[in-house]
């Protein structure tokens, strides 16, 4: 990870997953996908080599947003949808910290949609983990902005009337410099995506398909069940042709004259490159998956360098300070005495 670095004079830390477990009792429903994500994150964190005191988890409201209580780092469980805004103030004023935002599909895409897109647009150096279970869990089962159209829930007995967001398409439209997707149940893949996100300098947006076994059980079963997943799950590997299915019989191709990508049986598979500068490529990848999940890529869609908000803000401060002379009190006195002044004896 480009920043923060290990403070000078400190030996690399030998932390374990246990060091990242707080003393708080975890209170998600038994069987919730959040447990798997928490365990994966706690196991992954020592890899970063960052002292626990320099890591901050900020969350909003919802089941996923309880996450900071369970991490033995600094943490703030804030208010609904606002975590990216709070994290922006923290990260841009404290570039020495590693700031993570944990959010859900309602928190990030409904009540907090505005803050999410602007954090991504600014390229604030925060890692945003969006747990997408396509349902409102903490309020007990209303449809969410990622629920499929026609979803029958407590608040939509006749079926929901609104089309869902594609979170990755949204993030890419907001100029996100790092966009990825993974699945709660695949710890190895989840950790590989976290690793790439942590190494990215700037906003990293990670959608994690997460099962809510109480209100939307089996939402992603097509991608998890051994009998179906190979024909629907597309694993993106940097530098590798994008194929899937038994013996790689399906390919992701770019038909001549088409704006987008398509899945074909056979055909010349395109080679995956997340570093393509033109976001149209990652966007086309993101459009392969619809509500029915029939062809769903996971992995890193986009990973491009772009100046971060934090860097620009800090550079402006440093440049201004470099030109200043005198003690702070002297500088203040000079500022107050600016302009047309007059003296009465």
């Amino acid at each position: 990870m480009a920043s923060p670095a290990i403070p000078a004079g400190r030996t690399p830390l030998k932390l374990t997953a246990k060091d990242f477990k707080s003393d708080q009792e975890v209170r998600w429903c038994p069987g919730c996908g959040d447990y798997a994500i928490l365990a994966a994150v706690q196991q992954f964190m020592p890899e970063l080599g960052i002292p626990r005191e320099n890591i901050v988890f900020v969350s909003g409201i919802g089941c996923s947003s309880r996450f900071p209580y369970y991490m033995n780092t600094y943490g703030m469980h804030s208010i609904h949808g606002r975590a990216p805004a709070i994290a922006t103030g923290l990260s841009s004023s404290r570039p020495d910290l590693s700031v993570w935002v944990v959010t859900g599909d309602g928190d990030a895409l409904s009540i907090g949609g505005n803050h999410l897109i602007h954090a991504l647009r600014r390229n604030v150096n925060v890692k945003i983990l969006l747990f997408n279970n396509r349902i409102y869990g903490l309020t007990k089962g209303q449809y969410s902005p990622t629920s499929e159209i026609g979803k029958i829930t407590k608040s939509t007995p006749a079926g929901s009337a609104d089309s869902p967001f594609n979170p990755l398409s949204l993030a890419l439209g907001a100029e996100a410099s790092f966009v990825a997707r993974t699945i709660d149940s695949d710890r190895k893949h989840l950790q590989s995506v976290l690793r790439a996100a942590a190494e990215h300098h700037g906003s990293a947006f990670v959608e994690i398909y997460q099962n809510c076994n109480i209100f939307n059980d089996g939402a992603f079963e097509l991608l998890k069940d051994a009998s179906s997943r190979d024909d629907h799950l597309i694993r993106l590997e940097q530098g590798q042709p994008i194929t899937f299915g038994a013996d790689g019989r399906y390919s992701v191709v770019h038909p001549e004259g088409s704006f987008g990508l398509q899945v074909r049986e056979g055909g010349e598979a395109i080679v995956h490159d997340a570093t393509v500068d033109d976001p149209a490529y990652a966007f086309a990848l993101s459009r392969l998956s619809g509500s029915d999940l029939s062809t769903t890529p996971i992995g890193v869609f986009r990973n491009v360098p772009r100046p971060t908000y934090d860097e620009i803000v800090q550079k402006q401060l440093l440049d201004a300070r470099a030109q200043a002379t005198g003690t702070p009190d002297e500088m203040l006195s000079g500022l107050l005495n600016t302009g047309d002044t007059w003296t009465i004896l």
Binding site: Y69, G75, G89, E330, G339, T343
Partner: protein, 620 residues
């Protein structure tokens, strides 16, 4: 200024003058007024100003809604308000005359730009005939001046385009008024050189227009008298003229310097608070970060995030923005972190009248949150007082780890007055320690273990080893900060959050009653200080005793306030709302306070308050 063969003019001494410059939004009246003010300040007069402009950036030219004005009051003694009524109106067009005529007392001087009194412009504002040609202005001293054409003629040799020449007519007017009132003009010439540094031809044009106006005054027969207003006796020291918004920004800079903390301002542009953002964005060398956020909610959220990280988090806005920030302010109440929320009030509700003043956010500041969520509330009384109020807001926020709402308003924000510059080293020391070691048994860190003196919890910023902890909006157990649904704990925490704000020590309120014989007390808060003070002085000059007290701290209130109020037969509370402080005083102290309310978008005039108070003093 120029060597001209001028008739000898009589010079008359005046104690005070109120001038109002009025014209189209694009006529440069704010600039003209601002320059005149600076000249008066240079001369050593006491001054007070009141700009009045439409919310539209360029309303249709020549219409009544497009009129922009700037009033300046200058005197040879200390004054408290921009003046009730102008002695002189400079009207750049028929709309400016019509919009302001009703405010003029009989006999007032009116200088009109006759070039703009065309049939078309007269018709735009409903004048059937020119008021300059009938007897409708008979009660005034009208000075018709062809401002535009004389300016164009004066600039004929400078080579500037006719459009630019016409635009310099405000400098002609300024030159004329500067001559009339014997103002020193060096600072204006210097100002023009700086303002148009990249366009020397405009420096020349505006300077020439200014001189032409001055010389016109000196030579024309129409102005027989020249006036002087001697310097006021003011406390020794160095002064500058300052608006409330500028003073607020400088106060925030000072708070950063005196606390040794970086300042983080999150703001979303909103009238009339945006100038604080503009000003603070220039001062990065002081370690001040300004973020123009995507909305009001993000602005306060980012400020709170920065506070959590160890900065002084500040957000600036007006009433509608405070409403949007409400949820985050409640979070800050629960997190017990420092946060300064500056509300430059404007006329509401909703968009209301964004460029007009009001004090109707007091209830919002005191109570506009969900749950029991008390915060400290303070209000500056004048433009220069905004500087000290900002420092006081930061002091309370940092010392007591609480949101503080500072209630300014459009009147003090855009008004100006001379400011006696403080000695920086005598400003309060705002340093507060961060927590650096565990405070519990067995090396545990207890984020909600309170300081017994301040009842503040430790400010443990990320990056501090051994103090890793989690905070949040869920109710916390006393001391440990763990999530708690325990009924007794919640009851305790709600009460301690109330107690810790109520226990913040604030200075006693002072009463001004020079003869110590008043039976009526007038109590105010915020920007009404000037007009109330002027009204009280006028009454005392007429041997009508009255006492004045003014609240700076609206929550908590001064400990002696109840006793002060109880000592008078009558307590009158004038406010630019429908009685929000009066209701608060009645509820807290069981005092039968008499509310006096005006919600016109304009500040009280001293005369309005004088009449009202006279009635109370005489008739009880």
């Amino acid at each position: 200024m120029a060597e001209v063969d001028a008739p000898e003019k009589r010079v008359e001494q005046l104690e005070r003058v109120v001038i109002r410059f009025a014209g189209d939004s694009g006529d440069g009246m704010q600039l003209t007024g601002d320059r005149f003010t600076s000249e008066a300040a240079q001369l050593g007069n006491d001054i007070s100003t009141l700009p009045n402009f439409p919310a539209e950036i360029r309303a249709p030219a020549g219409t009544l809604p497009g009129v922009s004005s700037f009033q300046v009051h200058f005197a040879d003694y200390d004054i408290l308000t921009p003046g009730d009524a102008p002695n002189v109106l400079v009207a750049m067009n028929p709309a400016a005359l019509k919009a302001n005529l009703a405010d003029l007392p009989a006999g007032a001087d009116i200088i009109v730009n006759t070039d703009e009194f065309t049939r078309r412009n007269l018709a735009k504002v409903g004048y059937a005939a020119s008021p300059l040609e009938d007897d409708s202005l008979a009660g005034y001293a009208v000075h018709p001046v062809a401002l535009t054409s004389m300016t164009v003629a004066a600039l004929a040799d400078t080579g500037v385009a006719k459009k630019d020449a016409e635009r310099a007519k405000n400098m002609f007017a300024l030159g004329l008024l500067s001559w009339m009132y014997s103002r020193p003009y060096e600072s204006t010439l210097r100002f023009l050189e700086q303002k148009f540094a990249k366009r020397p031809e405009l420096v020349a044009a505006n300077t020439a227009a200014f001189r032409a106006g001055w010389n016109f005054g000196e030579t024309t027969e129409d102005f027989a008298v020249r006036y002087e207003v001697k310097p006021a006796r003011m406390r020794p020291g160095t002064y500058r003229n300052i608006t409330g918004n500028a003073a607020l920004a400088l106060g925030v800079v000072a708070a950063g310097v005196r606390s040794g903390l970086p300042v983080f301002l999150g703001a979303y542009p909103i009238t009339p608070a945006s100038d604080v953002l503009h000003e603070l964005s220039k001062h990065k060398r002081f370690g001040i970060t300004t973020m123009q956020a995507e909305d009001e909610i993000a602005a306060v959220g980012a400020a709170l995030g920065a506070s959590y990280g160890g900065a002084l988090g500040v957000t600036t806005t007006s009433g509608p923005g405070v409403a949007l920030k409400s949820e985050t302010i409640s979070l800050a109440v629960a997190l017990e972190l420092p946060l300064v929320v500056i509300d430059v009030q404007r006329a509401g509700p909703s968009t209301g009248m964004p460029t007009k003043t009001e004090q109707a956010d007091l209830n919002l500041a005191l109570y506009g949150r969900h749950g029991e969520a008390p915060v400290a509330v303070i209000a500056p009384r004048s433009p220069s007082d905004c500087f000290h109020a900002a420092i006081e807001a930061a002091r309370i926020a940092l010392t007591y780890r609480t949101p503080v709402i500072l209630l300014s308003d459009n009147y003090v924000a855009n008004g100006s007055e001379p400011w006696l510059l403080p000695d920086v080293t005598e400003l309060p020391d705002l340093h507060v320690p961060f927590a650096d070691a565990p405070n519990g048994e067995d090396g545990r860190f207890l984020p909600y273990l309170r300081d017994p003196q301040t009842l503040a919890r430790p400010w443990a910023v990320p990056g501090t080893p051994g103090l890793e902890h989690r905070i949040g909006g869920l109710e916390k157990a006393d001391k440990t900060g763990d999530i708690s649904y325990d009924p007794a704990n919640h009851d305790f925490m709600v009460r301690i959050r109330a107690e810790r704000i109520a226990a913040i020590p604030v200075p006693d309120i002072e009463v001004e009653d020079p003869d110590d014989n008043a039976r009526v007390l007038v109590l105010g808060w915020g920007s009404t200080y000037g007009p109330i003070g002027a009204a009280c002085r006028a009454l005392r000059q007429r041997s009508l005793p009255i006492a004045q007290a003014h609240l700076r701290h609206l929550n908590p209130m001064p400990a002696n306030l109840g006793a002060v109020l109880a000592a008078y037969d009558k307590v009158v509370i004038p406010e630019m709302n429908l009685g929000q402080l009066a209701r608060e005083i009645r509820a807290r102290y069981l005092i039968d306070a008499i509310p006096f309310n005006q919600v016109s978008g304009l500040p009280f005039t001293a005369a309005t308050l004088e009449n009202m108070l006279e009635d109370v003093v005489k008739n009880g």
